[in-house]
């Protein structure tokens, strides 16, 4: 008999507790606490500098994928060689002859400290870039009679 009366009380109490905890966690019970901030570093010799969010004021994140480049032979090797440093958007904005893609490659190696690339790989990348991103602007200059 005593068990029969105690059990519903326990069940109700536990249910109410879990419900309150759940509501509290989900923020339904109102925001009583400020958002979590990491504790300030303990002061040693000098007063500790204010904690700075390392992402504060930085550019939004970027997430290029292989599929952001058009399909074609050499896409993968190009993607990984180029996007180790810069975004796909920069590649896609270009429209260059193979000659200029070739000198762009030199620019990356010589001025932007791109790691060395084997000759065969370089050729594959250059084939891909000059096939996919050739000069697109036509008219005066685009079909210059003096251009090889």
């Amino acid at each position: 008999m005593s068990q029969l009366t105690v059990t519903p009380v326990v069940v109700i109490t536990l249910t109410a507790t879990f419900l309150l905890l759940a509501l509290d966690r989900s923020g339904e019970l109102g925001r009583r606490q400020p958002p979590y901030a990491p504790p300030a570093r303990p002061a040693a010799m000098a007063p500790a500098p204010a904690v700075v969010d390392s992402e504060k004021g930085k550019p939004p994140p970027h997430n290029d994928t292989l599929e952001d480049l058009p399909e074609g032979k050499g896409r993968e090797v190009t993607f990984y060689a180029c996007t180790a440093c810069h975004g796909v958007a920069l590649i896609k904005a270009q429209g260059l002859t193979r000659d200029l893609w070739d000198s762009t490659f030199d620019l990356m190696l010589e001025k932007h400290r791109m790691p060395p690339v084997e000759a065969a790989e370089r050729a594959e990348i250059l084939d891909y870039l000059s096939e996919q991103f050739p000069p697109r602007r036509r008219g005066r200059g685009g079909d210059n009679p003096f251009l090889k």
């Binding site: 004021g57 939004p60 958007a89 904005a93 260059l96 002859t97 001025k111 400290r113 005066r140």
Partner: protein, 410 residues
């Protein structure tokens, strides 16, 4: 603020009225550079970043974003509308800006290492409205494409900067007679994440460094610099390529020869001494450093692609014009592809190296499609070409006259 003290008589409007029969032939076909510039059909990706307006993103790694012409309409560029150009990653925001160290060494009698807080209190603080412009501004107007970020005219802005004169700091360090050039260093890591080597390190002749408007700046439009614009301190070298205006400034190395850091030499920030075939590789030996930026005008109102109500016969327009080291003398507008020109009113700059407002109107004889062209002429009489001239592999110095397209409804 100081007045530029330039000749006012030269500002008198002059109706050019020059008929140039071959204009059409001198321009790339409609829809080439112009459509590329505005991307009216698809529209550029827009920047979504706290503290920044929805600028047109040219690249996200490194972050590069330009200001659309219609967002360049403010007299003083608000900080959120200033273009963004990075060459590497963005360093972390310092927690103690006043303790940030700046070193001045090399060809000086007394090398200096000074904390920003001390710099601010030791040297006179000055405020000017100064042009900041990317060296590659206008690159997208080249045919064929030149290598790099495809800027239209939006790699430029004219906010108000507060700082100390670089000249005062160099004088305090005492320039040796061997001092001929500067080399600038910031703390931004390279795109690969290295901090041991500079991402970019450009420099300028001592005369430009000693120019009174060349600043070590710590405030923009009265507020501390945001991180993306170089917090806590940067150089502002107005009128010359923006790459000289090093963000997150840590060191100025005074050199006894032309600086040779990354961004100097080769085809970087250089234009041909003798014209080269557009689209060709060119020869490094024929290139010379781009110093003053060229004359440029941008119509900031109305926007490209504006539809006007049926019956509209007059269009008020306005914009900004600037010319690197020089002032703007005239800005003329045309609605007939440059056959006839009409002058606009050009205001004096707030101070030397500030852009100048032009405003005027054009009469529209009928309904239909018009291109409105603007062409600025600087105080040397140098004007904007009809098409981007002096093609070079990395695309500097493209400043063709500005064009917007409008439609008067029937």
């Amino acid at each position: 603020m100081q007045s530029a003290g330039t000749s006012d008589t030269s500002r008198r409007s002059v109706l050019m009225g020059v008929g140039i029969a071959t204009v059409g032939a001198a321009l790339p076909p409609a829809g080439a550079a112009l459509a590329q510039g505005t991307q009216a059909a698809k529209g550029p990706k827009l920047l979504e970043m706290e503290g920044k307006a929805r600028l047109a993103v040219l690249g996200d790694r490194p972050l590069v974003a330009e200001t659309q012409a219609e967002l360049m309409d403010d007299d003083v560029t608000p900080t959120d509308k200033l273009f963004v150009r990075n060459n590497g990653q963005v360093p972390e925001l310092t927690s103690d800006p006043k303790a940030w160290k700046i070193k001045v060494d090399g060809e000086v009698n007394t090398p200096i290492e000074i904390a920003l807080g001390e710099l601010m209190s030791r040297f006179p603080n000055v405020t000017y409205q100064l042009m900041l412009e990317c060296g590659g501004n206008g690159r997208s107007f080249f045919t064929p494409e030149a290598r790099g970020n495809q800027w239209t005219n939006g790699g430029a802005g004219c906010p108000q900067w507060t700082g100390v004169r670089l000249a005062d700091v160099l004088k305090a360090a005492g320039l040796k007679s061997s001092a001929v050039y500067t080399g600038h260093y910031g703390t931004d890591p390279t795109l690969a994440g290295e901090t041991s080597k500079p991402t970019l390190s450009r420099g300028m002749p001592i005369a430009k460094a000693m120019e009174e408007h060349t600043l070590i700046a710590f405030r923009i439009n009265g507020k501390d610099l945001p991180l993306i614009h170089g917090a806590p301190v940067r150089l502002v070298v107005p009128g010359w390529a923006g790459s000289l205006s090093t963000k997150w400034l840590s060191r100025i190395w005074v050199r006894d020869k032309e600086h040779d850091g990354p961004g100097m030499g080769g085809f970087s920030y250089r234009t041909p001494r003798k014209p080269i075939v557009p689209g060709s590789k060119g020869d490094e030996k024929d290139m010379a450093i781009l110093e003053s930026m060229p004359v440029r005008s941008v119509i900031t109102f109305p926007a490209d692609g504006t539809r006007l109500a049926a019956g509209t016969r007059k269009l008020d327009l306005r914009g900004h014009a600037w010319a690197g080291d020089w002032d703007i003398k005239t800005v003329d507008v045309s609605i007939d592809y440059g056959v006839t020109w009409k002058s606009t009113k050009v205001n004096p700059p707030a101070n030397k190296f500030a852009w100048q407002r032009f405003a005027g109107s054009v009469d529209l004889p009928s309904s239909g499609y018009y291109e409105v062209w603007a062409k600025a002429t600087d105080s040397n009489g140098v004007t904007q070409p009809f098409a981007a001239a002096n093609w070079n592999p990395q695309g500097y110095g493209a400043n063709p006259l500005n064009r917007i397209r409008i439609l008067v409804e029937s």
